[in-house]
C-alpha cells in the first residue's frame, strides 16, 4: 500500500529511502557492543558436575567468569533430527519475554531420547539417532555432528554475550529524567547534541558498554528502564559456503558476507522506497537461516521477537577438529566455513538446529515447530486487481466490467484506505460507497471477491466506535508512563490495540462479524497493512521501544511479533463469520515466524522499476524458504509509472509467483491491463490466463505444502541440492518439482539465459515443447510474448485450459494432463481437488489422484476419495511430450471396458495429443499407447 514517508516527505521527488530515518548498527548500542567483540576465548564455562540428565534433555549450569553471573544451558533432543539449545539467566531480576507456546511454536516440540555418551577431557557427548552433540565445558562451545560430519558449531568463535539483568546504577531521579526527555524531544538538535555530550561522560565509567541505560536516535530518547538486556552468540557452518533465509531483506537469495556492511537486520519497519541489495530491515522478520552444501542442508531457527542482527562471514574450517570434512571436499586443502553471529536486544538464547539432511527435510522440521500455510481458497491464488484507490462503487463496477469486456480473468478487486470514512477502518465512505452490499453482491454474482484494507491504527475519535471501545476497555498499547500511546498514522492521531493479548485479539476478531462490520459480506476479505506497526512520528517510523504492552512487556521485547498477532486476529475474525466452515484470506505486510499459518505476505511498497521486478524473485523465494509460501510482490511496482514493457513483463513474472496481485500508488497513472496498447493487452491476457490454466497444479502444490511445509516457489538448489552451479542462482526457480520458470526481468530483452539443472534431466518448453538437456545454461529466445517456462521430464501436470471470468466459474471445467516423459519414458504427477473453498477437505471431502506413466501406459489411480465427495470435472485431453514414436493406436481401459481414442502426433516435436478421454477426473483408468 503506502508508507509513512509519503506523509513525511510530502510529494517531493525523493526517489530512494531516507536512510537517516533508520538506525544503522552504529546508532544501536547493543549492535555496537556485540559487533565489537573479537573472536577468542569465551568467558563462559559450563559445569559438568551440575549436569542434570533427563530422557530427552540435559541441563547444566554455566558461569560467566568475569561477572560471576550464572546461567542455565539446556540441550533438548527433538523428533526428526532436530535439537534445541537454550541459555537463560539463572536468577534474573526480571523475567524475559518468550513468545508463548502456541503463538510461534505451534506446541511444545516433541522430545526424542538424548543419550549421554560420557565425558572425555572437557567434552561431554550426547547422542541422538545418527547425530551427536559435543559440549565443551570450558571455554563453552557446542558442536553438532550429523553422521559424523560436523555441521553446526555454537560459540566456537567465543562471541557468546548474555547481558544479565542488573539494577540501574546511580542515575538522576526517574521523574526528572522523564521531563528532560520530553523537553529534548521537543527542543531539537541543539539540545540533542548537548545530551549526547552528557551521555559520553556517563559512558566513560564503563567504556566497553555504551548506550546501556539510555539511547537517543534523532530527536527520540529511549528510556531503557531495564538497562542492557541483549544476547548474542556465534553459529558456524563448517563446509558451507551458502546460507539463505532470514527475511525480509531486499537482497540476493544467497546471503552475503557483512564484513563491509551492517549486519542483516531483523526489525519490522515501514521503509519508504526501499533500496535494493543491502541488509537493511524491512517490514517483516523470520529468524530462520538455511545453510547448504552439496552434502547437506541444515537450518537454524533463532526464536526471538526482539530486534535481531546477523553478521555473516566466510571463513576456513578448523581441520584438526573437522577431519571428516575432507571426505567430501576433496582436492581442496581449505575447507570453507560460514560463520554467523546473531544478537538480539532482549529475550533468551533459544536456538533450534534442524539437521536435514535435505532441504525438504529442513522444511518439514521447521514446519513441525511453527506450522504450515493452510490450503488457500482457490480464489486467493488467482489474480488480484488492486490500486490505491478504486474511488467509488462506479469505479469498481467499471473496472470489473472492463475485465469481462477484454476477456481477462480476475478474482479479487481491492479497496485501499480511501474507501473508509476518514481512515476509520470497518467503515465506508458513505458518499462513495453508499451501498457496499450491492457492490459486493454484484461482484459475487461473477464468482468474485473483494478485499478491503483494515490497519491496526485506530483514529482517536470518540465517535469512532472501534476506537472508543478499545480505549474504554483498556485494550490499547500504553506509552512508557502508562497513558494510551498516541501516534500518527493515516487518520492522524491514533491508538493501537495490543494484539499480544488474547482477549484483545478476540475483541478484534468480533469486529469482522456482519453485525459489527456494517456493509461487509461473506465475499469480503481483509488486508492488514502498516502493522509493523508504522507510526509516522515515532523513531524509525515505528512505536518507541520503551512503550508498554498490557502484559508489562516493552515493545523492544516483542516488536517483531506484533504484526503477526494483528493478522492472526484478523484471520480469526474472518473464519468466525462462517463458524470456521469457509476458508478465508488475509494479506499482511509485517510478519514473523508463524505468519504462514494465517496470512499471505507481500513485499511491501516496491517501485515500478526493472530492478524491483528482478529482486521480487529472490525476495519471494527467501520467504518461501522460511515457510511463508503464499507470498508475492506488487505487480507493476507500487511507486512510479512503469512503462508498458515493464508492466507486461511484470505480469508474466507475477503469473508464476505464488501471490499474484497488481497494485499501484495513488499518484500513478491507471494501469489496469486493458488500458495498455493492444499488443500488451494481448500478452498480459495470455499471462493471466496461463496462471489460471496452472491453477490445478498450484492448488495441488499448496495442498501438499500444507502437509510437508515445502516451499512452493523453490530455489533450484532445493530440487537439485547436489548441483553446486545452482546455489547462487536466483533468477530461475521452480514451482513445485515440475515447473522451471525464468521470468524476463531486463528492459528490452529478447533473449534470456536459462539454467537447466539436473544431469540426465530433460526439460520441455511448455508452449513449443522444445527440448533442453539438464545441467547447462542456454540462451533462449524471449520476445515480449514469451514467458520462459519449462516442464521437467518425468512429471505430469494437471491444467484447466478453458479460460473463465474467475476461478470460481471454472467449477466443473475439464482437465488436461501434460505428461512430460523423462529419458526412461516415465512420468509421475498428482492432482488434489475439493470444493475449492471450505474446510471440508480436512474431514476427507476431497479427491487425490496419482498419475503415472510407465511402459507406454498412463495410469490414473484415485488415492483418496472422501465419502460423499464427487465432482463433475472430467478429463478432456492428455498431452504426452517427449514420445519418440507415433503410436498405432491409443486405448482407454476402464472398469473392464476398452475404448479407442482419437489422437494426433507431431513427429517434429514428438508430442502426442490424446483427444477427449471424457472420463470423470475422479476415476481409475489406464490409457495405453500401442
Amino acid at each position: 500500500m503506502k508508507v509513512a514517508g509519503f506523509f513525511l516527505l510530502g510529494l517531493a521527488s525523493v526517489f530512494s529511502v531516507q536512510r537517516d530515518n533508520f538506525r544503522t548498527c552504529d546508532n544501536v548500542g547493543f549492535c555496537k557492543r556485540h559487533r565489537a567483540l573479537e573472536p577468542g576465548t569465551s568467558s563462559y564455562a559450563a559445569s559438568a558436575s551440575s549436569m542434570k540428565l533427563n530422557p530427552t534433555s540435559v541441563s547444566l549450569d554455566v558461569l560467566e567468569k568475569k561477572s560471576d553471573v550464572k546461567f542455565t544451558l539446556t540441550i533438548f533432543g527433538l523428533k526428526d533430527n532436530t535439537f534445541r539449545i537454550r541459555l537463560e539467566e539463572k536468577d534474573a531480576m526480571r523475567k524475559r519475554y518468550e513468545p508463548p507456546v502456541g503463538d510461534v511454536l505451534i506446541k511444545v516440540p516433541e522430545g526424542e531420547e538424548l543419550k549421554y555418551n560420557g565425558q572425555s577431557g572437557n567434552q561431554l557427548t550426547f547422542n541422538k539417532g545418527t547425530s551427536r552433540v559435543v559440549l565443551t565445558t570450558e571455554p563453552l562451545r557446542i558442536d553438532v555432528y550429523s553422521d559424523d560430519d560436523p555441521v553446526i558449531s555454537i560459540n566456537s568463535q567465543g562471541l557468546l554475550k548474555f547481558e544479565h539483568t542488573r539494577p540501574k546504577p546511580e542515575a538522576p531521579p526517574a521523574e526528572n529524567q522523564d521531563e528532560e526527555n520530553k523537553e529534548e524531544a521537543q527542543e531539537g538538535e541543539e539540545e540533542q547534541q548537548k545530551e549526547e555530550e552528557v551521555k559520553e561522560e556517563e559512558v566513560k565509567a564503563e567504556p566497553e558498554e555504551p548506550d546501556m541505560w539510555e539511547e537517543t536516535f534523532k530527536s527520540h530518547t529511549d528510556s531503557k528502564p531495564f538497562g542492557p538486556t541483549s544476547i548474542g552468540v556465534d553459529i558456524s557452518f563448517p563446509g558451507v559456503e551458502h546460507v539463505y533465509g532470514i527475511p525480509e531483506h531486499a537482497d540476493s537469495l544467497a546471503l552475503k558476507t557483512t564484513k563491509t556492511t551492517d549486519p542483516y537486520r531483523l526489525y519490522n519497519l515501514d521503509v519508504f522506497e526501499y533500496d535494493l541489495y543491502n541488509p537493511m530491515a524491512l517490514y517483516g522478520a523470520v529468524p530462520l537461516m538455511l545453510a547448504h552444501n552439496e552434502k547437506r542442508t541444515v537450518g537454524v531457527f533463532w526464536l526471538n521477537a526482539a530486534e535481531t542482527w546477523v553478521d555473516i562471514s566466510s571463513n576456513v574450517a578448523d581441520k584438526s577438529i573437522f577431519s571428516n570434512l575432507a571426505d567430501f571436499v576433496t582436492g581442496n586443502n581449505e575447507i570453507p566455513q560460514t560463520d554467523t553471529h546473531w544478537f538480539s536486544e532482549s529475550g533468551v538464547i533459544d536456538v533450534f538446529l534442524m539437521l536435514g539432511p535435505g532441504p525438504k527435510d529442513v522444511f518439514r522440521q521447521y514446519a513441525a515447530l511453527t506450522g504450515t500455510t493452510p490450503l488457500p481458497p482457490l480464489f486467493s491464488i488467482s489474480y488480484h486487481q488492486c490500486r490505491w484507490n478504486y474511488n467509488d462503487q462506479d469505479d469498481v463496477r467499471t473496472v470489473d466490467e472492463n475485465f469481462d469486456k477484454f476477456d481477462i480473468p480476475y478474482d479479487v478487486i481491492w479497496l485501499d484506505i480511501e474507501h473508509t470514512d476518514g481512515k476509520r477502518y470497518f467503515t465506508w465512505d458513505a458518499a462513495k460507497f453508499p451501498n457496499s452490499i450491492e457492490m459486493l453482491r454484484n461482484i459475487s454474482s461473477k464468482g468474485r471477491k473483494m478485499v478491503t484494507i483494515v490497519d491496526p491504527h485506530l483514529k482517536r475519535d470518540d465517535n469512532y466506535k472501534v476506537f472508543a471501545e478499545a480505549r474504554d476497555k483498556g485494550l490499547l498499547i500504553k506509552n512508557k508512563d502508562g497513558g494510551d500511546f498516541d501516534g500518527w498514522c493515516w487518520p492522524g492521531s491514533s491508538g493501537w490495540p495490543d494484539f499480544l493479548e488474547k482477549h484483545v485479539r478476540d475483541w478484534w476478531a468480533d469486529k469482522f462479524s456482519a453485525s459489527e462490520y456494517v456493509g461487509s459480506a461473506p465475499n469480503l476479505y481483509v488486508w492488514n497493512d502498516m502493522n509493523e506497526p508504522s507510526v509516522f512520528n515515532a523513531p524509525e517510523i515505528t512505536v518507541n521501544r520503551d512503550i508498554k504492552h498490557l502484559g508489562g512487556w516493552e515493545n523492544r521485547e516483542v516488536h517483531n511479533i506484533y504484526g503477526m498477532y494483528v493478522h492472526e486476529a484478523t484471520m480469526d475474525g474472518l473464519l468466525k463469520r462462517t463458524n470456521y466452515q469457509e476458508r478465508a484470506f488475509v494479506l499482511t505486510r509485517a510478519f514473523f515466524a508463524g505468519t504462514q499459518r494465517t496470512a499471505a505476505v507481500w513485499t511491501g511498497d516496491n517501485m515500478g522499476e526493472w530492478s524491483h521486478l528482478k529482486i521480487s524473485n529472490p525476495m519471494i523465494m527467501s520467504l518461501n524458504l522460511v515457510g511463508i509460501t503464499f507470498s508475492g510482490a506488487d505487480v507493476g511496482g507500487f511507486f512510479r509509472n512503469p512503462d508498458n514493457e515493464l508492466v507486461t513483463r511484470w505480469y508474466q513474472a507475477g503469473a508464476f509467483q505464488p501471490f499474484f496481485r497488481a497494485h499501484a500508488h495513488l499518484d500513478t497513472k491507471r494501469r489496469e491491463p486493458y488500458l495498455l496498447p493492444d499488443e500488451n493487452v494481448k500478452v498480459i491476457r495470455e499471462a493471466i490466463r496461463a496462471r489460471y490454466t496452472y491453477l490445478p497444479y498450484w492448488y495441488t502444490e499448496f495442498f501438499t505444502s500444507e502437509k510437508d511445509g515445502a516451499a512452493v516457489m523453490r530455489p533450484l538448489w532445493v530440487e537439485f541440492p547436489k548441483e553446486k552451479a545452482t546455489f547462487g542462482i536466483d533468477d530461475n526457480y521452480m514451482i513445485g518439482s515440475a515447473l522451471l520458470v525464468r521470468p524476463v526481468t531486463d528492459q528490452g530483452a529478447t533473449n534470456a539465459n536459462v539454467y537447466f539443472p539436473g544431469a540426465g534431466e530433460v526439460w520441455y518448453d511448455v508452449e513449443t515443447y522444445q527440448t533442453y538437456k539438464g545441467q547447462q545454461e542456454v540462451n533462449v529466445q524471449a520476445p515480449l510474448s514469451k514467458i520462459p517456462v519449462y516442464q521437467k521430464g518425468g512429471t505430469i501436470i494437471p491444467r484447466k485450459m478453458r479460460p473463465r471470468r474467475s476461478s470460481t466459474l471454472m467449477f466443473d471445467d475439464p482437465f488436461t494432463l501434460v505428461v512430460a516423459l523423462d529419458p526412461k519414458q516415465e512420468a509421475n504427477g498428482q492432482l488434489f481437488i475439493d470444493d475449492y473453498r471450505t474446510f471440508k477437505y480436512r474431514d476427507g471431502a476431497y479427491g487425490f489422484i496419482k498419475y503415472s506413466f510407465t511402459s507406454h501406459k498412463l495410469h490414473s489411480n484415485v488415492e483418496h476419495q472422501g465419502s460423499g465427495f464427487t465432482t463433475k470435472e472430467w478429463l478432456e485431453r492428455v498431452i504426452v511430450v517427449g514420445l519418440p514414436h507415433e503410436p498405432r493406436k491409443v486405448t482407454l481401459h476402464q472398469s473392464g471396458q476398452t475404448k479407442e481414442l482419437i489422437f494426433t502426433y507431431d513427429s517434429t516435436t514428438h508430442v502426442l495429443i490424446i483427444r477427449k478421454p471424457g472420463v470423470n477426473i475422479l476415476q481409475n483408468w489406464t490409457i495405453s499407447l500401442h
Binding site: 469505479d395 469481462d404 453482491r441 454474482s445 465475499n523 473463465r804 471445467d813 478432456e876
Partner: protein, 317 residues
C-alpha cells in the same frame, strides 16, 4: 464414460471475420424498431451450428470429403468434431458453440437487429451466467456454486436457469433510439447558433460547430466533496462544496481527440499542477454523450489530476 459434447448441427455458413473488434459490428441504418417480443428479432436457423452467426453458416459446411476446414488454418477435421466440446482447430473455429476453445466467440441464437452483433466470449459459455439475452449461451444449464449468490440474491448478472430478456433489451434499445431521434430533432437550435461562425471557428466546436452553443454557458456539478464548474471549450474548475477552499483549474481550452458520432471527446489541458504527481498539470476529458438536455452527467478522477467529465447534450446525438 461421460460425453460432454452436444449434438451437432450439420450445416452452416461461414462467418467471414474471425477477428472482430471488441464490440462487434454495428448494423447500419436507422430503421424503425418495434419492441413487440420476438416479432422482429433474427433467430439462428436450426440448420446453423450453435454459436455461429447465421450470416456465417456457409463456413460451417462440410467439404467434399465430409470434413470441416478450420477457418484460419489448413487443418481439416471430421464434421462431427465441430461443436463436440473439444478444441481441435488452433484458431478456435471448430467450437463456436462451446467453451472448449480459448479464443472462440459464441453468437447468440437471437440477434436483435440494429444493435451490436450479440456474441459472448467462449469463456462465458456454459458457466452458469446468462449473457445472451435469450440465454442461448447457457444451453447446458449448469448451476453456479451457491455461494455466488449473496443472501440468495443475484447481482449484476443473471444466473441459470436463464429467462428470455430480449424484450427488455429491445425496450432499452428502443428508449435509446427514441432519445437519439428526439435529440436529432433538437439539434437544429445548435446548428443555427453556430451559423454565423467562420468555418475556422466552427471547427473548434465540432462538426458544423454543433457544440458552439454549449460554449456560451457554464455548468455546475456536485460530486462527493467538490463542485465542478465546466465551461465547455474554455475551462473546467473545481472547488470544495460550500465554496470551501480556492478554485482549482482542471483544464482549459483544449482540442478534440475524438470526433465521431456517439463518441466526442474534447481534451482540456494546462490545469493547475499543485499537488499533482511529478508536478504535471491537471487535465480534463470532456466526453459528450447523446442526451435530451445539456448538462454534466458525472465527473470522475480515475488517476490523480486526470478528470473525466461526461456531458449530456442533444448536440452529441
Amino acid at each position: 464414460m461421460e460425453e460432454n459434447g452436444d449434438d451437432l448441427d450439420e450445416t452452416g455458413d461461414r462467418y467471414e471475420d474471425g477477428d472482430k473488434s471488441e464490440t462487434g459490428d454495428k448494423h447500419d441504418g436507422v430503421d424503425e424498431l418495434v419492441a413487440n417480443g420476438k416479432g422482429n428479432v433474427q433467430e439462428r436457423p436450426k440448420s446453423v451450428p450453435r454459436g455461429v452467426h447465421f450470416s456465417d453458416a456457409g463456413s460451417y459446411k462440410a467439404d467434399a470429403r465430409g470434413l470441416f476446414k478450420c477457418l484460419e488454418s489448413e487443418l481439416r477435421i471430421p464434421m462431427n468434431q465441430v461443436n463436440d466440446d473439444y478444441c481441435d482447430c488452433p484458431d478456435s473455429s471448430d467450437e463456436p458453440g462451446t467453451s472448449a476453445c480459448p479464443h472462440a466467440r459464441f453468437f447468440c441464437t437471437v440477434q436483435i437487429p440494429h444493435r451490436d452483433v450479440q456474441f459472448v466470449y467462449s469463456s462465458h459459455v456454459n458457466d452458469g451466467i446468462c449473457d445472451c439475452c435469450d440465454g442461448s449461451d447457457e444451453w447446458q444449464d449448469k448451476r453456479v456454486p451457491s455461494n455466488m449468490k449473496l443472501d440468495g440474491k443475484t447481482g449484476a448478472v443473471f444466473h441459470t436457469p436463464c429467462i428470455d430478456r430480449c424484450g427488455d433489451v429491445m425496450k432499452i434499445l428502443e428508449d435509446e433510439q427514441r432519445i437519439r431521434r428526439q435529440g436529432l430533432l433538437r439539434q437544429k437550435r445548435y446548428l443555427v447558433a453556430a451559423r454565423n461562425l467562420t468555418l475556422f471557428q466552427r471547427q473548434k466546436y465540432g462538426p458544423a460547430g454543433i457544440f458552439y452553443l454549449l460554449s456560451q454557458q457554464c455548468y455546475e456539478h456536485k460530486a462527493h466533496e467538490y463542485v465542478y464548474t465546466v465551461c465547455p471549450f474554455e475551462s473546467v474548475r473545481q472547488q470544495g462544496t460550500g465554496g470551501f477552499g480556492a478554485k482549482t483549474m482542471l483544464g482549459r481550452h483544449g482540442e478534440w481527440t475524438k470526433q465521431k458520432s456517439g463518441d466526442y471527446v474534447h481534451s482540456m489541458r494546462n490545469g493547475d499542477a499543485t499537488l499533482c504527481p511529478d508536478g504535471q498539470p491537471r487535465q480534463t476529458q470532456l466526453r459528450f454523450l447523446c442526451g435530451l438536455e445539456d448538462g454534466i452527467i458525472d465527473v470522475t478522477e480515475a488517476s490523480k489530476c486526470r478528470y473525466d467529465v461526461r456531458f449530456s447534450s442533444p448536440a452529441a446525438c
